[in-house]
Amino acid sequence: MKRLANLTNGIIKENPVLVLVLGTCPTLAVSTQASNAVGMGIAATAVLLGSNIFISLLRNIIPDKVRIPCYIVLIAGFVTVAQMIVQAYAYSLYEALGIYLPLIVVNCIILGRAEMFANKNGVLDSALDAIGMGAGFTLTLLVMASIREILGSGTWFGMQVPWLVDNNVSIMTMAPGGFIIFGCMIALVNKITKGKGRGSSDAGCEGCPSAAACGKVAEQEVSL
């Protein structure tokens, strides 16, 4: 039962994007088209799965002092593998994701899960956590990209949506549309969870799990 919770937590209760507010950069950037969103989601999930499994396996070997550099190297390794595979077998996705593909390295969801979950839990639990979190990330991206693509381009996965094709609101696929839709989605989650999500508070760095990775930020911010 607990195992199952590890899997489902990421999808709803601890949704990485909408509740934990992590990985905002790729969420906003690649959610212009549903197909890109799914591609990005799968790539990030694969990296997360790989890094979570390996970090969990190595959690007793990696000395605490250098754990962050070790995690970063591991994650960067998986990202590069993902990059090569996408470039070789899905070139149009590679072009569409552009710089955001290598930037999965600094996606705080991945480092955050390594720090918060994988280095404290067993391999199976970490793998389930990765799949759940990845699914939550992918689903959120897909929903957001669907809204933006349908409203902004009048298409969905490239299929034309009647009427909207000729009456699209192209600002939705541009930068402001990303901010607006993201804001509205977090507001909706706030409404449903009655303000339990972190989205209702300020997105300060204190709440970011990478803050721990950043060193002393958490305590220093207070002393400011």
Binding site: L58, I61, I62, P63, K65, V66, P69, C70, V73, L74, A76, G77, T80, V81, M84, I85, Q87, A88, Y89, Y91, E95, G98, S170, T173, M174
Partner: protein, 173 residues
């Protein structure tokens, strides 16, 4: 105490080594696939520009404009294909275009571009690219996109280079 210092460095270096090794292996597998896929795409792009062509021959001429990265003639002599890189300001645009034996543009299109979305990226749209169809080196009737003059001027400049290269290769004016 000594162990406290050495162990972290050792583990980190080991992880770096193992990861680099794994990447080298993956790279060995994917590199040929990436290379052949990229060749395939350029080949398809060339045939899209001149569908009548039976095959393409690489031209290696001296003194071509530096923007021209590749030049091809056709085996059945129906025209020439050029691949050029034009510098915009948000990035650069790779353009492929074909010229027939009368010195007229058959068609040109952007292979890839990283211009600002919705602005400079309009150079990749048919409304801009189609105006080059059938023009000769005087580029009559070709207009830059207002509000995206740098990108479109770069594109037009690249097309001029193509005609210059064409003249150089064929010796025709």
């Amino acid at each position: 105490m000594k162990n406290d210092f050495i162990k972290p460095i050792l583990v980190l270096s080991l992880i770096c080594l193992v990861i680099s090794g794994a990447l080298a292996v993956t790279n060995n597998v994917t590199e040929p696939v990436i290379a052949s896929a990229s060749e395939q795409r350029e080949e398809t792009a060339k045939f899209e520009i001149i569908p009548d062509a039976e095959g393409f021959i690489d031209i290696d001429a001296e003194g071509l404009p530096t923007t021209i990265t590749e030049a091809y003639s056709t085996t059945n002599n129906v025209g020439y294909v050029f691949i050029i890189t034009a510098n915009g300001y948000g990035g650069d645009v790779r353009i492929i275009c074909g010229i027939d034996n009368e010195g007229r543009m058959i068609r040109c299109s952007a292979l890839q571009q990283s211009e600002t979305k919705g602005l400079g990226s309009r150079v990749a749209e048919p409304s801009f690219q189609d105006q080059f169809i059938g023009v000769d080196k005087r580029l009559e009737g070709v207009e830059a996109i207002s509000g995206a003059t740098i990108s479109s001027s770069a594109y037009i400049g690249a097309i001029r280079d193509v005609f210059a290269a064409y003249e150089l290769i064929t010796g025709r004016g």
